[in-house]
């Protein structure tokens, strides 16, 4: 089969690989119809995530047709079109039973700090991902969800990560009616977090980024007030001025370790890798939120450490909330939002391409070329 093949930082190619097989009674094999390139994939692509091995297939946002199921899978049949949450979750461990499907204890041998994620390095379990014609889906009786007949699969594929992650970012913000919410990052997740902040009753939504075309998209889609941080001298002062000097009620970091905006963080976190990525959005969030406010983190950082003003977290009484999205927990509500027209996921898709073009896809997304918001691969044909 054809699959994406990681060859080192900034190098991915499409290559022939053996088809996956059932390795566990609760496995399924899925023929992938759509597979996104995620902003988090760029952390792998840029060589920031430890234990990212040559030859791995990335891709944790995908949907497809069930080809084969293991003997213990009773809720799926070959031919079902399913969307597959990016978390691999058993559904019965201490964490899954609390709805923490992003923190399953029965799926990632290599690390306890993160649950297993499709195609996301061995630090996240060492599973090949969905940027391939076929993929092995463990615990297929838990995660995969039938795509409703009325739903466009282009919407469905974005329910595997982008929409739930953005939604959970807003949910973790504990937004109360009338709150001012600042979202750092106008990538797909940041845009979705800003959109969802309104669903929780935000009174004001502000999005910060440096890419004008993305800010313009956020202004229209979310909708939101948008600002380019390149035109702002001091982020904390700016947000204070926007909020009667108190600070925002909720700040959301929707960027993670690939952030730009501070030369020191870029040098230590991205170039020298002495930090787990550049944490400037988190720095801004801590210093821009009001005393007693909430900082919600969905941007992905590496597993080591970052320079952030942790003393201010204490002194301001900030609550920090963070997690990988618990996709399965959120899906019923999100499907309802799509059906009611409150969220339009596929509007984020700007690039549709075949798997053969995966190298170009990564380059376009990484370089923010051609006004790219969200690229989707169609491994078995568009």
């Amino acid at each position: 089969m054809l699959a994406a093949d990681y060859r080192g930082p900034y190098r991915v190619r499409a290559a022939q690989k053996p088809e996956p097989v059932i390795l566990h009674p609760r496995d399924a094999i899925v023929r992938v119809t759509r597979s996104c390139i995620c902003g988090s994939d760029l952390h792998l692509y840029h060589g920031l995530m430890p234990d990212t091995r040559i030859g791995m297939t990335f891709g944790h946002e995908f949907c497809g047709i069930v080809e084969e199921v293991g003997p213990a899978v009773e809720n799926l049949r070959p031919g079902d079109h399913v969307l597959v949450p990016f978390n691999i979750a058993c559904g019965q461990c201490h964490f899954c039973r609390q709805g923490l499907f992003g923190n399953c204890h029965e799926s990632n041998a290599q690390a306890t700090a993160v649950g297993a994620i499709f195609g996301y390095s061995h630090t996240a379990g060492g599973y090949d991902g969905g940027q391939a014609q076929y993929v092995r889906v463990p615990y297929a009786d838990v995660g995969p969800t039938l795509i409703p007949d009325w739903m466009d699969p282009d919407d469905a594929v974005l329910l595997t990560d982008v929409v739930p992650t953005g939604y959970q970012a807003a949910e973790m913000g504990g937004i109360q009616t009338g709150d001012t919410v600042v979202v750092f990052g106008a990538g797909p997740v940041g845009i979705m977090a800003a959109r969802c902040a309104w669903l929780f009753g935000a009174g004001r939504v502000i999005v910060i980024d440096e890419i004008e075309y993305r800010l313009d998209f956020a202004r229209r889609y979310c909708p939101a007030e948008v600002y380019n941080f390149r035109e702002i001298d001091d982020m904390a002062v700016f947000i204070k001025k926007q909020t009667d000097s108190l600070g925002a009620d909720v700040c959301i970091d929707a960027v993670g370790g690939d952030a730009t905006g501070n030369a020191l963080h870029t040098l230590f976190g991205v170039k020298l890798k002495l930090e787990a990525g550049s944490a400037i959005p988190l720095h801004w969030a801590i210093n821009s939120v009001k005393k007693g406010g909430i900082v919600s983190i969905v941007g992905v950082y590496g597993p080591t450490g970052n320079m952030v003003p942790i003393g201010n977290v204490l002194n301001k009484g900030i609550t920090v909330r963070a997690n990988q999205a618990s996709v399965k927990r959120l899906l019923p509500r999100l499907i309802e939002h799509v059906r009611e027209g409150r969220i339009d996921p596929k509007a984020l898709i700007t690039h549709r391409m075949s798997l053969e073009d995966v190298s170009d896809g990564y380059r376009i997304f990484s370089g923010k070329l051609d006004d790219c918001i969200k690229p989707v691969l169609y491994p078995n044909g568009i």
């Binding site: 991915v12 609390q98 949910e171 009753g201 948008v226 590496g302 009611e340 190298s359």
Partner: protein
């Protein structure tokens, strides 16, 4: 688009946003969802799924007390990078050596990948793998600028290297005499 002089007024009327407030929840307190603890404390004795036979070498965090029921089997550790990875797993996830060794192994693995390609008689299309075709199509000026900077850096290094070598040789001769 950016108007920094704008006063802190509400530019968007929430009432005009479709779905505004439909998920508002005053009980969404900062401990959610951790408050959903089950009766009986923190049992480690849930009914485990059937155990997968790994069939390939799977490295396991020493913070685990047992292998999870299912494991990923992509790209088992091999070669020098594999040896470094095995050594890294002697340390916990809390130890920086664990992660730094894994990052080092990743870089060694990249060279191994190149060697593997060449050993198979496959010359990797590195510009193609880097998507430079797309960069040329959508960001020609930027690509030319990056290439010019790279050429300049290499040229300066090539110019300075022989001088440094000559300096070292002179220094060595002086020491010899």
């Amino acid at each position: 688009m950016t108007d920094l002089a704008r006063p802190p007024a509400r530019a968007i009327d929430p009432a005009t946003v479709p779905g505004w407030g439909v998920d508002a929840d005053r009980r969404n307190d900062p401990t959610y969802p951790m408050r959903h603890r089950e009766e009986g404390g923190r049992p480690m004795d849930w009914e485990r799924p059937p155990l997968q036979d790994p069939q390939v070498e799977v490295l396991c965090s020493i913070e685990h007390n047992r292998l999870p029921a299912v494991v990923g089997t992509s790209t088992p550790p091999r070669g020098l990078s594999g040896a470094i990875r095995r050594a890294a797993f002697a340390y916990s996830e809390s130890d920086w050596r664990h992660w730094l060794m894994l990052l080092g192994a990743d870089r060694v693995n990249m060279v191994e990948g190149l060697a593997e390609d060449l050993a198979r008689g496959h010359i990797p299309d590195i510009p193609g793998e880097m998507g430079l075709r797309a960069e040329w199509r959508h960001n020609r000026t930027g690509l030319v600028r990056k290439a010019a900077v790279a050429v300049a850096v290499v040229s300066v290094a090539a110019l300075l290297w022989p001088r440094a070598e000559r300096g070292r040789s002179r220094h060595a001769r002086r020491l010899h005499h």
